[in-house]
Subunit: 316 residues, 2 copies
Amino acid sequence: MNILSSAALPIENRKKLNKTFPEINFIFCESIEEAKDHLSTAEIIITYGDDLSENILNQTSNLKWVMVIAAGIDKLPFEALHKRDILVTSAKGIHKAPMSEYVFFMMMSVYRQGKRLIENEKNKVWTRDIQMEEITGKSLLIAGTGVIGQEIAKVAKAFQMKTIGVSRSGKTVNHFDKNITHKEMKTHLNEVDFVVSVLPSTSGTQGFFKYEHFEAMPNHAVFINIGRGDAVRAEDVLKAVQEKEIYHAVLDVFETEPLSSDHPFWEEENITVTTHLSGVSPHYFNRALEIFSENLKSFQEDGRELVNIVDTQKGY
Amino acid sequence: MNILSSAALPIENRKKLNKTFPEINFIFCESIEEAKDHLSTAEIIITYGDDLSENILNQTSNLKWVMVIAAGIDKLPFEALHKRDILVTSAKGIHKAPMSEYVFFMMMSVYRQGKRLIENEKNKVWTRDIQMEEITGKSLLIAGTGVIGQEIAKVAKAFQMKTIGVSRSGKTVNHFDKNITHKEMKTHLNEVDFVVSVLPSTSGTQGFFKYEHFEAMPNHAVFINIGRGDAVRAEDVLKAVQEKEIYHAVLDVFETEPLSSDHPFWEEENITVTTHLSGVSPHYFNRALEIFSENLKSFQEDGRELVNIVDTQKGY
């Protein structure tokens, strides 16, 4: 069996795959360009998910499985994959630790005046006259109750926070005090201190947060987006901060990335911009390829234990 | 009964005390200077604990109880208080939430390159090429296993950290995977990623962390001091960072405060200086006076339920 990787994998991960699966012919490439010559024989492709155009897909003839080693899968050519009945799995879950840490880091950066602390240190200013808020005991609404949302809620409980989870079904999920549906969200926004979006990009989540939602939040609310940038329109979140409908927005993802250097987000005092790095982790490849390896073992057997299967019709 | 406060209390807290204890004559002052005229009649003094000199104490004649509305009590004239058998209670415990938050905020600031993120935002630099570490799963040694140490350990468990508690007795304490004595500490330092000191200032804790302890830590270790500055000598922690025995030190407390503007700590890249504010909280007075009120009720009855009693002979 030929397994082709268009994702540049670290040497140690390549070695480990070769050692774990000696019977398999791995072709490790640095990019889809380099991988092109091997598309026709590949049965499995390992990819970041952003380099598989329909055109690329047409050059494969033995492809059975696309393993995306990222959590976001919104750039895949779903229709073509569905038509050819190609299995797609993701690395969903590998980002839960870093993304959860990011959320708490940012909550406390805002509440504990991180920027001012660094400024004071730089200027060697000794002052104890700094207003600080506590996240302990506050209310947190999380849109998206998958593995990442659950991890955030779990840590939030250690800080005695109240946790509300928002999902399509509103079904009960671990670590949430309350689970509500998308439709029910608006009526709960007035009771929360933090709103975190971990929503992926699907047809149902684009423009999910509207200006009216920010209006419904308390004026001291902090909005944090670590899912996908298109869950909210830039002009809505900008206006909400400028009109003081909310106190602060922490944005790690944007409708267009990289964020252009003249975008007003950069200079807005009550918007914190980071550069799509909430999921950055030194354990990224190990975790992604651990999921892949377990799936590959199952695939070689009967495929019953496969995890993180993507519904190519629905796109998630 | 006359209760004198030399601590400037917010109006709403004064009102609440008057309402809760209508039979008591509260004398609310802004400072010990203003309080001086009332010392002779005061039976109870509410103080931050840093304004009660032996001279002041000699001007009291009816004093039965000193309520310190701070966690640190090391500036009290213990000998004189002990001699006159005056009850001393503290507000121990009120800082656990903000101090625990501070620790996790700072751990993540160091691991997630907080200063660089802010710098990049300021300069509108879009880059995803930033090394980040996770605190999840790391090892944390906490010197001091009282209420604050336990709160930190509790949150650490939500991040799946390994927690080692260091105390005089080494007795088993909640939320710690392992409890060891002061003497045993050195042999465990090589296995930890973070070392947090919440030690108070007593004769047994001054200079507690020595250069040899930093040598025993891994080179990537991060040392965080939120207890008292004299738990470690400035030159030892400075040398440990400069010689790369440890990676980073986060210091909120110092041998001499305020830290002088020419102190080398300010400019050392791998030392983070904050200005004794890990315990700053908007809930400070409410929490401190809640402890005081409960103690006062008990004091009016039979005194059996008094909490946070300080041993004036031992000084803690």
